[in-house]
Symmetry: C2
Amino acid sequence: MAQARQPHDLLAASSVRPSPHWPDAAKALYGPARMSAQRALIAEEVMAFPGAFTAEDLHRTVGRRAEGVGLATVYRALAAMQEAGAIASVGERDGSALLARCGRDDHHHHLVCTTCGTVVGVECPLDHAALAAATREGHLVTSHEITLYGVCAVCRDQKDAG
Amino acid sequence: MAQARQPHDLLAASSVRPSPHWPDAAKALYGPARMSAQRALIAEEVMAFPGAFTAEDLHRTVGRRAEGVGLATVYRALAAMQEAGAIASVGERDGSALLARCGRDDHHHHLVCTTCGTVVGVECPLDHAALAAATREGHLVTSHEITLYGVCAVCRDQKDAG
DNA sequence: TGATAAGTGAGAAGCGTTCTCACTTTCTGT
DNA sequence: ACAGAAAGTGAGAACGCTTCTCACTTATCA
Ligand SMILES: [Mn+2]
Ligand SMILES: [Mn+2]
Ligand SMILES: [Zn+2]
Ligand SMILES: [Zn+2]
């Protein structure tokens, strides 16, 4: 049965059961949630990504390092990371949610390179003047969604050169 | 067969076939696209909506005035209106796209009342200062998505009173 | 009025995401 | 170290919104 995969076949080869402890860098992404070999691998790939990615993107890169990691597992790991505040939804691409590492805890938004996926945080452009206009209309603004798209310096240079 | 519905059973009762001409107000929403009894009805309901709605919302209200209008027809009509620039996507609610009438042709964004769906246009809050910050990072901003959510004056008063 | 391109309704299909189930593994006391 | 409880896993089914397919009907225009 494919179900009977040993826990650390994914990372090491020992068949005894060592009390598993995981890299702190990976563990940090999941907050209080429980750790696993799959999640360690997923965390590494998330940290390797230069910017925004979809669940499928991630599942593909994970699949290059270990087989049999289910897509549902990737979705669950991403949900845990999001809950822990390690990643954030930064928009969408072709109907799939775009995610990216984001450790910041202050209010900000994201600027996504449409070519390479690089993400940079930008401060919220909604100043008092903008909100005043809404208030003038009688609206009380309670939340907002802002995503900027563009081309990063690296990709711009490559286009100029090519 | 349910397929054999007369063209104008939906609007009038004449069973002859008058050279059909449609209300200008309704026709305007579809631009150059072809007109039909269903689309006339759909356009009326769109114009009756105070603000944002989903495809299902619209299909429901249309269903109160005529039976047998397919959901696919509503989606196709909405696509035509969007192409004609008569409506715009203004966000999403519970996984469904939120649409609203929007005849403006200048660059602006939308503020949606989360209680009643009322939509008001707001001018783009991205000023030169905000874009300068992105440029400083090397990014060239090419597009952006902004949606504001809040509570309109009417709904705020109702909450205070109730 | 006839030809043609477009719209329609019902249901199937797509697609990203979530859920279910039986099983495995981590984690916390002791 | 050990046992028990709670959480994670993989495969595939299910889900919800949206789009497509097909046979048929209808608007539009010469
Ligand atoms: Mn960020
Ligand atoms: Mn508008
Ligand atoms: Zn780039
Ligand atoms: Zn309101």
